[in-house]
């Protein structure tokens, strides 16, 4: 059992969070409210961050191509909303349809990444970027009959933001809420989040999961022992895409809005940054890394909003968030051990 150590990003984040907490205390903030929000934000973004794990563990790098998986999940939701499926049926059919689409997208994405090994990060970034305009074309021409999803004028093309209130908005958030005084614990949401995390942890213990980590450790050795490396890489990438699709459904139900078009554009960097904060190395990420990282990242952002407002500069929260995001990723690229060239 490895001793628990803190890496520099975690120390910086802890210090920053303590500073923000002190300031929040100073300006008399509603700490119970912050705790409630941070629990929701944790699970809401957590599933997307969990989706990075299979790809890191199979040695395919940090998935900067998250928008591909997110688009799959959005497709699933579009199909479900078009059928006017509400409540739990709508939620779970969105997830199922999204997963089906994600398998196809993930397979194509894996084909691309297997061709361009060792360049996964840059390929992922631009694959994600260039996939968004393709999906935008799809949103413009998809034959949807539900008027609430279409542009009010013209009747062609989906709206950038579709309200989910009538369908399954906040359905997980409000499920099994536990009230302890002013603190509200969204038990249903957290159980769903922990359930997915548990499944990923369990997957890491299976034979396939062990092969994954062996590939990340030494790809050539695994190939020489007669294992089809590209097959396992494809599997890992598809798995990542599928979990990202689930993640965006969870995210959207919490957000209450289905955000199409440029919605997933800038979602890859925060997720990668969160898992790096959690202590994931380029070849090994655990469920705990993702969970700790997401909690630190999201809570810090949440705390910075009222503090920035109190200082009368509301833009500061967003600026700090982006500084943290890109600074942490830059740190990870520059100070980690170099990958061995195959």
């Amino acid at each position: 059992m490895k001793r628990l150590t803190l890496n520099p990003p975690q120390i910086i984040m802890f210090c920053f969070m303590l500073l923000l907490l002190a300031m929040a205390f100073f300006i008399d903030m509603d700490l119970a409210g912050i705790l409630n929000d941070s629990l929701i934000k944790w699970a809401m973004n957590g599933v997307i961050v969990l989706s990075l794990i299979p790809m890191i563990n199979v040695g395919a790098g940090r998935n900067f191509g998250i928008p591909i998986g997110l688009s799959a999940g959005l497709c699933g939701m579009i199909f479900a909303l078009d059928r006017r499926l509400t409540s739990w049926i709508g939620f779970f059919s969105s997830i199922l349809l999204g997963m089906l689409v994600a398998v196809v997208f993930g397979f194509l994405y894996a084909k691309l990444l297997n061709r361009l090994k060792l360049n996964e990060e840059i390929v992922g970034t631009f694959a994600g970027y260039s996939f968004i305009p393709i999906m935008n074309l799809f949103y413009t021409f998809v034959p949807v009959t539900n008027r609430q999803m279409l542009y009010p004028i013209g009747g062609q093309g989906l709206r950038p933001k579709v309200n989910l209130d009538q369908y399954f908005g906040q359905i997980l958030d409000n499920f099994l809420q536990l009230r302890i005084g002013p603190v509200v614990i969204p038990l249903g949401l957290l159980l769903f989040f922990f359930g997915i995390a548990w499944l990923i942890w369990l997957f890491g213990k299976t034979r396939t999961g062990l092969v994954f980590s062996a590939i990340a450790e030494n790809e050539n050795f695994v190939r020489l022992s007669g294992i089809n490396v590209n097959f396992y890489r494809t599997l890992g990438i598809i798995l990542s895409t599928v979990i990202a699709a689930i993640g965006v459904v969870v995210y959207s139900q919490s957000y209450g809005i289905l955000h199409l078009y440029d919605g997933p554009f800038m979602m890859s960097f925060p997720a990668v940054s969160a898992i790096v904060i959690g202590g994931a190395s380029p070849k090994k990420a655990t469920v705990a890394n993702a969970m700790i990282g997401t909690f630190l990242y999201q809570t810090t952002y949440l705390l910075s909003i009222p503090v920035a407002n109190a200082l009368l500069i509301p833009e500061m929260a967003e600026i700090f968030r982006t500084i943290i995001t890109s600074g942490i990723i830059l740190y990870a690229f520059i100070f980690e051990r170099k990958p061995k060239r195959a």
């Binding site: 990060e121 840059i122 631009f126 074309l137 500061m316 990723i329 520059i334």
Partner: protein, 348 residues
């Protein structure tokens, strides 16, 4: 036939541009004038990418840093209320100084991340962009005391998002004017671009250029031969940053106003797409690629929304198509790169 096969990307884009021009239903003069504007605004950005490519660092997305230093210099010039040629001279010298300092910092980071310079340069661009926003949105008025109160927001902290840059743009107006499509354009920016292109031409053939090529061919051999590889790479990055800064100054003088917070965003991907459309690879780029790519990419960029409007009654179709192209061409370049490397490996 072989020629076409070797230049598949430019030929395809040329065909697309012709199709798009046909459906866009605009006059050739309009297209020419639009391309001229975009050409003088973006040419130096694209030229800035050549040296980092030739020394093996791939596309330098950190040219955003150069654009940022130019924007800072321009805002300072407006803050000091400089006018006319003095303002332009001040802006140029300050931005060159800033881009040398920032360029050295970028180079230090990139030298620590050999083999993955491209993604690191993207992150450097993002980080520097927010740090710059922080300086002008929060520190200005709070820590730095401005001289020109007119550029501040009403709350007294932070610079306005749009500032009039007439003090610089008025300098260029009216030098060597010519008429095109009913509007008056100045030839002066074109002359500046030509001067910088000649400068780059000289650098490529000077000692530095040859050494950079050697480093780009094989960095380990260059290291063993006793070349100071890190120093050569740093110099290339610094020159690239200076070029980007000059480009941003040209952009602002042509545009007339400074978009303080967003003026530098997106320059990097557009420039990268232009040079790759022109037939450059991640290992080799020439000036021919730059100019050809600029014209082709921007011709497509201008006509595609109108073609989308005429074909599908929806202008956003063309817009999606062009942004797909701008990002997708980088992946195509990576795939082509892999092929040439495999060919090389099979010969060796």
């Amino acid at each position: 036939m072989k020629h076409i096969k070797n230049n598949l990307v430019p030929v395809c884009i040329f065909l697309l541009a012709v199709i798009s021009f046909y459906f866009a239903d605009v006059s050739g003069k309009y297209l020419a004038s639009e391309i001229y504007t975009r050409f003088i605004r973006n040419a130096l950005f694209v030229l800035a990418l050549i040296l980092p490519i030739s020394c093996g660092m791939g596309i330098n997305f950190a040219i955003v840093v150069g654009a940022i230093s130019a924007q800072m210099a321009i805002v300072f010039a407006i803050d000091l209320m400089l006018e006319g040629p003095a303002a332009l001279l001040f802006t140029m010298s300050v931005s060159i100084f800033l881009s040398i300092v920032f360029g050295l910092m970028v180079a230090a980071l990139l030298n620590r991340a050999k083999g993955r310079e491209m993604i690191v340069s993207i992150m450097i661009g993002q980080l520097s962009s927010v740090l710059y926003q922080f300086v002008f949105m929060v520190a200005f008025g709070l820590i730095i005391t401005p001289h020109n109160e007119a550029i501040l927001l009403d709350r007294g902290i932070g610079v306005r998002s749009m500032i009039d840059a007439k003090n610089i743009s008025s300098v260029i107006d009216g030098i060597f004017p010519f008429q095109l499509d009913g509007k008056t354009y100045s030839l002066f920016p074109l002359i500046i671009i030509a001067v910088f292109a000649l400068l780059l031409f000289y650098i490529q053939r000077s000692r530095l250029g040859v050494l950079a090529k050697a480093v780009g061919k094989n960095i380990h051999t260059a290291d063993v031969l006793g070349l100071k590889t890190n120093k050569i790479r740093s110099l290339c990055i610094v020159i690239s940053t200076i070029f980007a800064a000059m480009s941003q100054i040209l952009y602002v003088t042509d545009f007339g106003t400074v978009n303080v917070y967003t003026g530098h965003i997106g320059m990097d991907t557009n420039a990268a797409a232009a040079i790759l459309v022109g037939g450059a690879t991640l290992k080799g780029a020439s000036m021919k690629n730059c100019f050809l790519g600029l014209i082709l990419f921007h011709a497509l960029f201008i006509t595609s929304p109108m073609a989308g409007q005429n074909l599908f009654q929806n202008p956003s179709v063309g817009e999606y198509f062009r942004s797909f192209l701008a990002y997708g061409v980088i992946i195509i370049a990576l795939i082509m790169n892999l092929k040439t490397e495999k060919k090389k490996a099979s010969f060796a």
